[in-house]
């Protein structure tokens, strides 16, 4: 399936009239947008807007009903298995086994991805997230912030090109937020990001592109430099319906 790979500098995510329906419910309704490689997209929207569904479709966990989506140059349906090696997910759930140690968790997922020279890679990542001193401790004993760091290490194991972040900041204490900020800053340069966030300030401070969704539709898909701050706040208020400073 390598013939579909595109040259660098093109779009990392291409979504064309993506629709996801079940019965009368439309979780995604004719969603279209592009995201260039290396960009950081923040997805905003009220609960039930279709943000999670969008990420599920883009990460191959759900098939679209209509329309197409390509991530890292691969179709989410036809090239699903191949695509999975090119994407990573950092969720508010740690996605780690509590009864395995930090190193065991990473080694397990390294095997699942078929990462070559796994033990070196695991050590390298544990050092990067500053957990190498706790590598033998069970994940069960980790604090929320440590879990999130390890979860980032897990997501980066197979050197994905596109990273999906599903409300990664929820439930983090300020210290953990700092660490997560630092980590994202470190890997910012060579990854494309798609982040779902309820935290408007955080989302805006990180992103280069923004997407507002409501009722499964795209309300706004813009490069952040093209968006006027007060217009955006206005739009956000009217769709998301929450108080915005």
């Amino acid at each position: 399936m390598s013939e579909s790979k595109e040259s660098p500098g093109t779009n990392a995510v291409e979504v064309r009239s993506l629709t996801r329906t079940f019965g009368i419910r439309k979780a995604l309704n004719d969603v279209t947008f592009d995201l260039p490689a290396g960009a950081f997209l923040s997805v905003f929207g009220p609960n039930g807007a279709g943000k999670t569904t969008l990420v599920k479709v883009l990460t191959t966990l759900m098939a679209p009903s209509k329309g197409t989506a390509r991530v890292a140059g691969m179709d989410v349906v036809a090239d699903a298995v191949e695509l999975r090696s090119h994407i990573g997910l950092i969720s508010h759930n740690p996605l780690l086994y509590p009864d395995l140690s930090a190193a065991e968790n990473l080694e397990f997922f390294a095997e699942m991805y078929g990462v070559p020279d796994a033990s070196t890679r695991v050590r390298e990542l544990l050092e990067a997230v500053e957990l190498d001193h706790r590598r033998l401790d069970l994940v069960r004993t980790f604090s929320r912030g440590m879990l999130q760091r390890l979860s980032i290490a897990r997501a980066l194991l197979h050197r994905p090109e596109v990273l999906f972040l599903d409300e990664p900041y929820s439930g983090l204490d300020p210290h953990a937020v700092d660490i997560l900020d630092n980590l994202i800053a470190q890997i910012r340069a060579d990854h494309t990001f798609v982040m779902i966030s309820h935290d408007l300030a955080k989302g805006l401070s990180l992103c280069t592109h923004t997407l507002i969704m409501a009722r499964g539709r795209v309300v706004l898909a813009e490069e952040i430099s093209a968006v006027k701050r007060d217009e955006f706040a206005q739009l956000y208020r009217s769709t998301v319906g929450m108080g915005v400073a």
Binding site: V77, D79, A80, P94, L95, L100
Partner: protein, 240 residues
Amino acid sequence: MAGTHANPRGLSVRQFKAILKKDIVMELRTKEMITSMGIYALLTMVIYQIALSQAGTAFDPRNIAAGLLWLAFVFTSMLGLNRSLVHEKDQGCLEALLLSPVDRPVIFFAKATGNLIFLLIVQALTIPVFAFLFLQQGTYAGDLWMIPLVLTMGSIGIAGVGTLLATMSVNTKGKDFVLAVLFVPIMYPLLLAAVSATTAAVLGGDGYVQQFWSGMGLMAAFDAIMLLAAFALYEFIVGA
């Protein structure tokens, strides 16, 4: 849902081993499944004692030994199956597994194999206790080597279909109850054949070898058909 692109065979084997190893390491560390299943089996023995307490001395428990054993196994295995899938759901780990480039049947076979191993361990522990408690009087009339065979054949079906059904029930309200409601009727034919074959092995008697092998044959047929169905359906279930 999955792509047409298949993984290289080597990777699938690696993934299978990794999942199986992870389950075994976790079990050895927590001993959650084996202790809970083992204690549950012991409790069943107490219940049997109560059930048989009024049967009188003339009653030979050997006649219903096979039935009692499989009854214990059915209930303990439901407990274990539930546990093994709850592990995966707990922290969203199943989602992480699904995100990796793994063919879904690999997950199924790895989980089912893990469950099979734990079932067999619990059975190996339960049987001597059962024999010690209930089968002291009377002699063992069948062939001893038949017992592990029939246990393995039965456990393959329980682990295979059970893993599929538990993957469903773990996502429902009232997990354990739903698993029981789905599991018992589906397992009915397997258990019937298993009890028949086990009875032949325990009691001996006229034509017991033939009864044993016909039971084994039926169990093998059930295992083959149901594993195939579970294998085909797992992808849909695990992705939903």
